[in-house]
């Protein structure tokens, strides 16, 4: 009750984040901005739906995703018993999309999370220590950066062989250098600010400075950047599966589904479009969410 009253008062005060009278912590301000951004809210809702449906696939899926039927192949959406139709082997599309979402999200999110952790650590170390450490880390990253991301992912996956674990490894390698670059430049920028010098003058050691002054100001921008990479990671993961370098059949995965349904497009054009639509909706939702996050986290003043 008290919180809803507080929010009401804030809305009455106008659209700008409340400043006068009620001091607000940074994260509360960010939360307040996010709550008042309809596009971001909608994208977040869509994403929540997708994630929940993927998580709950074992309970939601009406059929076994790998049980086929020769009799009922490439049924159009709306077929009784198969709301979204069946694929080229007569497997239920809804079940496969729900189960495939698990794989696609796993393969899309994990590399970004890994890259966020490893890339932040490397980038912050490079930026904060500087000199030789910086040169060593950044020039190594440049080597990876020299290849287009798709090519690099294919090359590493091709060398390692197909499979989910190898997909995760190759995509992590693709995203780490990107995060390192952003982390390094953010760190260098913050490191030069006077409040870091002020912390040194107060006698603080490196650990305390990094923990209390650097991380809080650097992790935000890195997080925002990482969130923009999720949609690309999902597309790359699906792409690897499409090429037969990712998840192996009969496992359901959106990219793999696109690949196997590809030849059926002249028989039934609607069914092959479904996994593509799922990929599109998910990556779009991630993009819109990260845009909203970036806007909300922008410090003003």
């Amino acid at each position: 009750m008290a919180s809803s009253l507080g929010l009401g008062a804030a809305v009455d005060a106008g659209m700008a984040a409340p400043v006068a009278g009620a001091p607000m912590s940074y994260w509360r301000t960010v939360g307040w901005r996010l709550r008042h951004d309809r596009t971001t809210l909608a994208a977040g809702a869509v994403l929540l739906l997708i994630v929940l449906s993927a998580l709950l696939a074992p309970w939601l899926a009406p059929h076994d995703p790998s049980a086929g039927s020769i009799r009922l192949r490439l049924a159009s959406p709306g077929t009784p018993g198969h709301w979204l139709g069946t694929d080229e082997q007569g497997r239920d599309m809804l079940s496969r999309l729900l189960w495939g979402g698990r794989m696609t999200l796993l393969a899309g999110l994990t590399p970004v999370v890994v890259a966020f952790v490893v890339g932040s650590a490397l980038g912050i170390a490079a930026g904060f220590v500087g000199r030789t450490t910086n040169t060593l880390i950044m020039r190594t990253m440049d080597i990876f950066y020299a290849f287009p991301s798709v090519l690099l992912a294919i090359a590493i996956s091709g060398a390692l062989g197909p499979g989910l674990a190898n997909t995760l490894i190759s995509l992590s390698i693709v995203f780490i250098p990107r995060v390192v670059r952003v982390a390094e430049s953010a760190t260098v920028q913050v490191k030069g600010l006077e409040y870091i010098a002020a912390a040194r003058v107060s006698g603080a050691g490196v650990a305390a400075i990094v923990r209390h002054h650097l991380l809080a100001n650097v992790l935000g921008p890195i997080l925002v950047f990482a969130s923009t990479q999720v949609s690309l990671s999902i597309i790359l993961a699906a792409g690897l599966s499409f090429l037969g370098l990712g998840v192996t059949p009969p496992e359901a995965e959106w990219g793999l589904m696109l690949n196997t349904l590809r030849q059926s497009i002249y028989v039934n054009a609607v069914v092959p479009a479904l996994p593509g639509l799922a990929i599109f909706a998910t990556s779009m939702a991630f993009n819109l969410l990260s845009d909203g996050l970036r806007d909300a986290m922008e410090v003003r003043g």
Binding site: S202, G203, V299
Partner: protein, 329 residues
């Protein structure tokens, strides 16, 4: 005659300009060159000079934020540059700095209360006590801790932020406070308030100040003694009163002549010195001011001028004041 609180001898810092594939230094920027001075306990030493003359670098050298190439700094008799890590941490409590930019010098993610308390936590003060002391000090510098304590820097005005900076510098009970252009980013009216606050705090806490500024009015207002810097070197030192009354170095004269004055009789018709300071990458030989000096002589290009006393406690590095130019070598 008491021992100086801070003693700087022959401080020199050159910054490399790197270039090429291997990043070898191509040239050196002479930021601070052979600067020596003492700061006596209880005084306010003003350091004045144009922007880019090395004032801020000097402040950072004194605090060991940058390591000097040569020279020494002693605080209360202790060698700052050779202090061990733990000794340095102890020394930092006595030697604090108020930064120039009230915007960049406060962490946007900390409340101002936490920003002030941070220094105490670093030195092992319990959290509750640190917060109480931070609040008390915020109150002293004119910020209501109940109203402002939980706020973030971006919610405060420039003057308020500079008060937070002062509180942060004072929370460790330092003996010497370096003020690097403490008011240059503030409005004139706020400048006076902050300067008066600094004066009051100095009297209350028996502080010693080193005030760095490009603004002669500010320097004259608060300083007991003044160093005039030009291109990384000290060109004249003396009491604030003596410098204002009879500036000797042509550069000091030009500085005083160009300071905006409220007195209509002191208004000038033409600028006393023209042009920009020479490039510190390749400073002029001999006297560094000779390229802009109206009295330059051939000797000025050959020999760097030594310090010459012109009256008690007033020295100038200029060949015009040498008593026996030929006799000295």
């Amino acid at each position: 005659m008491t021992a100086p609180l801070l003693r700087a001898r022959d401080l020199t810092k050159r910054f490399p300009l790197r270039g090429g594939l291997l990043g070898r230094p191509r040239a050196w920027v002479h930021a601070v060159d052979g600067v020596s001075f003492d700061v006596n306990p209880g005084e306010t030493l003003g350091i004045v000079g144009e922007s880019g003359c090395g004032k801020s670098t000097l402040a950072r050298l004194l605090l060991r934020l940058i390591e000097p190439d040569t020279g020494s700094v002693a605080f209360a008799g202790e060698d700052v540059l050779r202090a061990s890590r733990s000794r340095m941490k102890r020394l930092r409590r006595d030697l604090q700095l108020v930064f120039q930019d009230p915007y960049a010098s406060l962490n946007p993610r900390l409340t101002i209360e936490d920003a002030v308390a941070f220094s105490l936590l670093v030195h092992g003060t319990p959290r509750g006590e640190a917060r109480d002391r931070a609040r008390a000090l915020l109150d002293r510098v004119g910020l209501d801790p109940r109203l402002h304590g939980r706020r973030y820097a971006h919610e405060l005005s420039g003057g308020q932020r500079q008060r937070v900076n002062i509180a942060r510098a004072l929370v460790l009970d330092p003996r010497l406070l370096l003020l690097d252009e403490p008011v240059s980013a503030l409005d004139k009216s706020v400048q006076a308030q902050v300067l008066n606050l600094l004066q009051d705090l100095k009297a209350e806490r028996a502080l010693t100040y080193v005030l760095i500024s490009h603004d002669l009015n500010v320097i004259e207002y608060v300083s007991d003694r003044v160093l005039v810097m030009y291109l990384g070197e000290i060109v004249e030192t003396g009491s604030a009163e003596a410098l204002a009354r009879s500036p000797r170095h042509p550069y000091t004269q030009a500085l005083f002549a160009s300071a905006p004055s409220m007195d209509p009789d002191r208004r000038m018709d033409q600028p006393p010195i023209a042009g920009d300071p020479p490039n510190p990458i390749d400073p002029p030989s001999g006297c560094r001011f000779r390229t802009r000096c109206p009295f330059a002589m051939p000797r000025c290009a050959e020999v760097p001028p030594p310090f010459v006393p012109v009256e008690a406690g007033h020295e100038v590095a200029c060949h015009l004041y040498e008593l026996e130019p030929a006799g000295r070598r």
